[in-house]
Every structure is written in C-alpha cells, then in structure tokens.
Amino acid sequence: MAKLSLSLEEGFDNDHVVVTVGRRSVLDERGVSTRYQISLACLKEIELAEGEDELFIALPERGLEARVPLGPSPPNHVRASVSRDGRSIATSTEDPVGYA
C-alpha cells in the first residue's frame, strides 16, 4: 500500500475541508486554519488503496475544489494552499521537506 502525506498549507481560515480519495472520505474537518508560524493548517497521512487514482479536496462553503490525479505511481506528498485571492486551491506534489 502506498502512503501519501497531505499538507494543507497557506490560506485556510476557519474552513470546512473535505478530502476524498476515490469514493472514500479521508478528511472532513471544520475550523481548519493556517498557523502562520509554521505555514501549515493540517498534516494528514493517507494510506492509498489499489485503484484510488484521484485525490479530491473541497472547501464547500467557499465553493472551492481541486483534483490531483494520483496515477499508477502516486506521489509521496500532496500540498494544497488556498490562493491569495481566495478563489482557487493550488496543489503541488513537490516534497515540502519540512515546516518550522
């Protein structure tokens, strides 16, 4: 089983965040806020099952969604930030290295 770590980084402000992999909900939390001293709102380790080829992130109250294709060799990390204008979710599969 592949492991994926999801980092919700900048721009979260008391948000309801829903994350699914395939049809499975892996995160459904309210009050998610970025802590700017570590530039991080939430870290989540996700175990991926066979055939789960898409990560879906939504902030339903803000009408924001992002989809990250996982493919046959999924990334180790998915990082997500709400854009500075608050109108989209930017994602990246680059290693974040760490927070401080």
């Binding site: 870290l43 974040p96 401080a100």
Partner: protein
C-alpha cells in the same frame, strides 16, 4: 529627471569607524558583538586607532547607535514658555524653540532609538513619547547622513494620540565624548505646520531593550545554541569565522540578550507516555519550568529544545504560544525532526545538521518577536502593507524555499534578519514586538523603505542639471511634480504647489542646520480645484536656493532636499534629491558672490526682475557676463522680463518723521529691443534649453508669453496682460527666434503646461 535617492547608499556610510570598548563590562561584550565589522575596516588601514579625544568633539568616532532618553524635569511648569534657541539666525528664518509647544502637555518622557551605525544600520531614528501612565505617541524617521554625526530625514510613521507628533522632519546631531555615558543626540523637529523645537537626549544603552532567554532541554533532545560559522564550507566567502551564539544574533538585531540562570533540563516524562509533544503540553511545561513565567508582556522568552512534535518529523520547530491572551512567550525546536536529516550526498552531514538546528532555533525565536515568514510578509495583519521577501537570506525564510534550494540559500546567508525585520524589531511600537503583548501575526512587520505616504499621490523632486550639480552662484532650481497614482480621477487644489501652506521643502546642508524653504510670495487664493486624471500631474518649479530665509544653498557643498505636502489629510512625501553646489571656478565668480548673495538679489530673481534697485541690476548685469555658468542666463532673463512690458513701480517718498510719506507711481516704458538683446545673448551662452532649465520650467511657462511677445511689435502695457496662457502660446514662445527649443524640451513643456499650477 533625478531618480529618488537610494537610502541604501548611506547604509554602509563611512561613519561606522571604530568601536571604543569603554562600556561597563556587561555591555562591553555586547559592543564587540554589535560592531562586528569594525576590526576588518581597521585592518584595511582606513581607520585611525582609537585614542582619547578632547571634549566636546563632533561624533562619530565610534558607533553611536542605541537608546537615548529625554525626561522633562519636574520643576518645570506643565507647558513651559518656549525660548528661541540662542545664536544668530537670518532675518525671516523660522524660530526654533527649546520645547515642544504642541504636545508638551501630553508627555514627560521621550525615548529614541538611534540606528545609523553599528551592526546592520537601518538609517532610522524612532521615538516613543510617554506620560507617567502610558505611551502617547510613536514616530519613525528615515534619515540620511548629511555630515559627520549629523542625520536628517522625514518622519514616515506615526502611531498614538492624534497631534502627539505634529512635525514631519527631524534633524539629529550626535555630540559628546568617547565614553558612551557622555554621548548625546540633539534632535530638531520641524515641518507639519508646528513650531520647530530642539531637544537633547542622553545615551542610555546600545540596545533597544534587555531581553532574557531561558533555554530548557528535554533529556532526549539536542540543544544547539551556538554555531561555528565556518563549520560548513558552503557559506559566503566574506562570512566572518566565529562561534556565533543565539544571543549575539539578537544583540546584532538591537537587543541586549542574556541567558537565564534558570536554564536547564526537563525530564522526558513531561511529554507524556508517547514522548511526543503537543502544543498544549509545551504550554503547560512552560508554566511549570520557565522560571520567569508570568503570562504578561515582558522582554523574556522560553525556548524548549525537544526531540519531536506529535506532528512527526515534518515539524522542525514551532512558536507554540498562540494560546490564551498572552502570545509569543514560548517557542520550541525539535532536534530530531527533518532538520537532523541532511540531503542525500551531503559531504558535511554533522555541520549541516548543526547549522540547520541553529537556524531553526533562531527562526522560532524570531516568531516570538512577531516576525512572519519571509514569503508571508504581506499576509495576515501586517502593521502596514508589506512586501513578501521570497528570496531573503533571512532566519525567517525557509532555506529550501528559495530559488536554487537550501544550498543556494546557505551560500549567501549571513546569519542575519532582513532589513525590514530589523526595522520592525528596532523601531516598531514596542507592544507589537514584545513577547506576551500583541497577538501573534497581528501588526507584524514593517514595510521596508516605504514612507507612510498618501499612496494616491507621488511627489517628485528633480533638477535639470547633470548630476544635480549646480555651479557656484547658480541658485538650484527644483522641478516639482505631483502625480495622481490612485488609478482614478482626483480633485485637488490647483494652487501653486510651492506656495501652498501645506507644502514644506526642507533643505539639509551638510554644513548647515536644516532649513525650511520659504517662498518670497504667496499668491492670494487657494486656486481653483483641478481634476487630475489617473497618471496626470501638477507641476511647479522652485528656486530653492533663494527664499525668504535668504540664500540657503549659497555655500558650496552637498544638500539633501525633500518635500512633503498634505493631501486629503495625509502626508505625501517626495523623494530625496542630493544637490551639489560647486565651489567657485573663477575669481570672477568668487568676487561676485558677495554682491549676489544678498536678500534683494534673491528676491529679484525669484519674482523675475525689477526696474528698480540699480545696484541689484548692476550685479545681475555682471552675472550675465559669466561663462559656463547658467546663472548668466538666469540673470539675463531676470533683467529682460521687466523690459518686455510697461513697468509700473510704486515709489514711496519722504520717509523721515518730519515729512509725510508720499506714494507715487513711476512708469517705465517697455524696451523690447534691449530685452531681446539680453535673451539672445543668454541663449548664445548655452542654448535655448539651458536657458529654460536655468529659469525653471514652470517659471518659464508662466512668463513664456512675455518672452514670446518680445518678437511682436505690439508690446502690451502690463504684466497682467499676459496672465493667461495656453499651450498654443507656448508654441508661440517656441517660435520666438529668441528661444529656440529642442523637441524634447518642447514636449516636456507641453506636458507641464497642461499641469501648470496657478
């Protein structure tokens, strides 16, 4: 056009000369830490060896930055009667009082942070005015060095009680002996429509505040509080080789940092059975283990060195205290997080890890000073709009976030905070910075190098002389532009900029006290309101060298000019222009100085001529003969202009007591032939362009119809007949064979004609 003065040009000014080590022992160590560049400069042979100097002497001969204090004595009445400062001053010069008559009742004490030399000088002076009970006002001025030990510049930031700080400009002079205890700073506050005053502050400390760090280490963790700066070979080539402590980093940032005697170790079981730390567990541990814990604002911080946070190895450290009413009191470093894992192939793994742990410790402690990440300066609630500093080589940036990654970051990382961070730590209102005070991420940071200026407008000063250099005798002419940068149409007064009551032009000579330029005339009326479209500007030209104060820029030397005006109740600060007045190049110039630098000549040039005052006209006639000096052109125009029309002169006769004063009007006939001859000669001394530049663009535009009329036969009979003009008439002026202009200058004048103030 002159570009705005680069404040960084003075950053490494030559006044950081030698650090005397004569302080009390406690501060002596810190002095060494602050003046880290001094030994290198001494080695370079540029600097004299320290030796006792007679008192009093002008500073600086050592670093003068630090905290200075003024306290009003109790035996003075609440609002003392101001006394003008002793010493001669020119007739008409502004009085400089010994007391702040505007806000004196509001405060008893003022503390200033003087930041012009030593480690990473920011060229700022800030002050806090307080009464017995509270802070009433805080100001910050950006200054430039105008002479040894002398700094001046505009106040760009104010906070606190309205009217506590009405002035807009400060000029500071350092005096005193080699011992810091005898050092003083005198500051003259001026501008802003308030009476100027001068106040002297006594030296207290090289630092803004004392601060105490308590380092507690959990049994299973590694604490790194020093680093060998040459421990890892990937570093700036110029980086001094030293064992650098966390305390020294903060001393260089302006704080007298010491380590608490309560520092020690914490048993691992405090973290709970999993040995991983949650934020709440750390907050609890802080209350138990920090010997100074008080849950109140204080200059003290608890630093926990632990092994791992419950979030895992992804978290290298955290300023965990955004809990409860008093934030930023405690911070933690996780020695075994990712910061203990060097990149694959790293050739110096242990040095890499040591450096990364040190970086993390200072980074987390920086958050406790309310510093945001470099790339997030604009987020949250910065004190004023901040720019992100994504590529900053600062403790507050993630090394692996910059272009080129951590290797590139450390290749030019000098173990320091950025200028905007130092500005904030040293000069922001104390409560924004102090631990346990302002909430985390609220009022963090200070915008670097930006004046708190009305953002809708840009006020620009420039000169038309190459390099802003003016030959001796030529009064510097400053071109002023006020542009609408708001992106929308703006309504504002069309009154002549230089004559508006809220326009202040400050002249700072390197050898003179700063002076506020005073116009000879103020035309009546406010002027009609003007609608300025986005990007449009109003223009004016100012003969800054001559004004009601006399000749403020007669002496050769360097002068810094800056203006401020109020629009919609907010100040608009101009750029600073450094103007050089050259020494006399000939005996004739030197000789003529005595005749030319009189109040009457200054006034006649400013108001564009007279048919009266023979001795003034004789002097101007001599000036027209000078070669390679635009003053010859200015003098010629000054002589020619009143010849262009029938000149009426009001003459008062009989000024003795016995004789009743009688007034009569003398009429002088126009003499266009003589005027034309003067203009023709003046153009021949340079060019049409140089003549217009010598006059000042808007001064020419206002008189252009006069000059144009010189080619016409129908000489009008009064100056008022020319009082209206348009771009078409400018064209007429251009067509006048007397003043042939280049296409470039013609375009400039056409633009300025559209934005000519009344």
């Amino acid at each position: 056009m002159t570009s705005p003065a680069d404040p960084s040009a003075d950053r490494n000014g030559s006044d950081q000369i030698f650090a005397f080590d004569t302080e009390i022992a406690e501060e002596a160590y810190a002095e060494e830490a602050l003046s880290d560049t001094a030994p290198q400069e001494a080695e370079a042979g540029l600097l004299p060896l320290p030796q006792p100097l007679p008192l009093p002497v002008p500073l600086p001969f050592s670093a003068t930055s630090g905290r200075y204090v003024y306290t009003r004595r109790f035996n003075l009445p609440p609002v003392p009667i101001p006394v003008p400062l002793p010493g001669p001053r020119p007739i008409g010069a502004e009085e400089v009082l010994t007391q702040d008559v505007h806000a004196a009742a509001l405060y008893q004490r003022e503390e200033i942070q003087f930041d012009v030399d030593g480690a990473f000088p920011q060229m700022m002076i800030s002050g806090t005015r307080s009464s017995f009970l509270s802070t009433v006002g805080h100001w910050v001025a950006r200054v430039t060095r105008v002479a040894p030990g002398k700094y001046a510049g505009p106040i760009w930031y104010r906070n606190g009680t309205p009217n506590a700080i009405p002035h807009t400009f400060v000029s500071a002079q350092v005096t005193g002996g080699p011992l810091p205890a005898s050092r003083k700073v005198s500051i003259t506050f001026s501008g802003g429509g308030a009476a100027s005053f001068t106040r002297t502050y006594a030296f207290e400390s090289r630092y803004r505040r004392k601060i105490e760090f308590e380092y507690d280490r959990v049994d299973d963790a590694v604490a790194v509080t020093t680093v060998n700066t040459h421990g890892h070979p990937n570093r700036p080539v110029t980086l001094p080789n030293e064992t650098l402590s966390i305390e020294t980093v903060f001393r260089r940032a302006g704080f007298h940092a010491t380590v608490s005697t309560g520092s020690g170790s914490i048993p691992i079981n405090v973290a709970g059975p999993d040995a991983l730390w949650t934020d709440q567990e750390m907050h609890d541990a802080m209350q138990i283990h920090w010997s100074r814990f008080a849950n109140k604002p204080q200059w003290a911080m608890w630093v926990l060195f632990a092994r791992l946070h419950v979030s895992g190895t992804n978290l290298g450290g955290i300023m965990f205290d955004s809990i409860g009413p008093n934030h930023r009191q405690g911070t933690a470093i996780f020695s075994h997080a990712f910061i203990s894992t060097p990149p694959a192939g790293e050739a110096n793994p242990s040095a890499w890890v040591a450096r990364m742990r040190f970086w993390t410790a200072v980074h987390e402690m920086g958050h406790a000073f309310n510093l945001a990440h470099s790339w997030q300066k604009s987020l949250g609630a910065p004190w004023i709009a901040l720019a992100d500093e994504k590529e900053a080589r600062s403790f507050m940036n993630y090394p692996y976030f910059v272009n080129g990654g951590q290797a590139k970051f450390f290749s030019d990382f000098a173990y320091r905070f950025s200028d905007s961070e130092l500005l904030f730590m040293r000069h922001a209102p104390e409560r924004f910075v102090q631990m346990g005070n302002e909430a985390w991420f609220s009022n963090h940071g200070f915008q670097q190098a930006a004046l708190h200026s009305n953002p809708d407008f840009e006020l620009n000063l420039s000169t038309t002389q190459p390099g802003d250099r003016f030959p001796y005798l030529m009064p510097p002419v400053i071109e002023v532009a006020l542009a609408n940068r708001s992106g929308r149409a703006k309504m504002l007064s069309g009154a002549r900029i230089s004559e508006r009551a809220d326009f202040t032009l400050i002249i700072n000579g390197e050898r003179k006290d700063p002076r506020i330029w005073m116009p000879y005339l103020r035309h009546c009326g406010e002027g009609d309101d003007r609608v300025l479209k986005p990007g449009e500007a109003l223009y004016d030209s100012v003969i800054a060298g001559a004004g009601r104060n006399g000749w403020d820029m007669a002496e050769p030397g360097r002068y810094c000019l800056q203006a401020v005006m109020q629009i919609d109740g907010e100040p608009v600060y101009s750029n600073q222009v450094m103007v050089t007045v050259q020494p006399p190049s000939t005996r004739e110039e030197e000789r003529l100085g005595g005749d030319l630098f009189t109040p009457e000549v200054g006034q006649v040039i400013s108001v564009n001529g007279t048919r009266d005052l023979d001795h003034v006209r004789d002097t101007l006639a001599k000036a027209t003969e000078l070669k390679d000096n635009p003053v010859s052109q200015l003098a010629a125009v000054t002589l020619a202009t009143p010849l262009a029309y029938t000149y009426k002169l009001l003459v008062t006769e009989g000024q003795t007591v016995d004789e009743e004063a009688r007034q009569k009007v003398e009429t002088y006939k126009a003499d266009p032939a003589a005027a034309r001859k003067l203009i023709k000669q003046a153009v021949a001394r340079g060019s049409g362009d140089s003549l217009i530049n010598a006059m000042g663009h808007t001064r020419f535009l206002r008189d252009a119809p006069l000059v144009a009329a010189l080619t016409r036969d129908d000489v009008p009979n009064s100056a008022e007949a020319f009082s209206t003009f348009s771009a078409v008439e400018i064209g007429a002026a251009d067509a006048a064979p007397a003043v042939p202009l280049s296409d470039g200058l013609r375009a400039v004048l056409a633009a300025k004609a559209d934005g000519l103030t009344q």
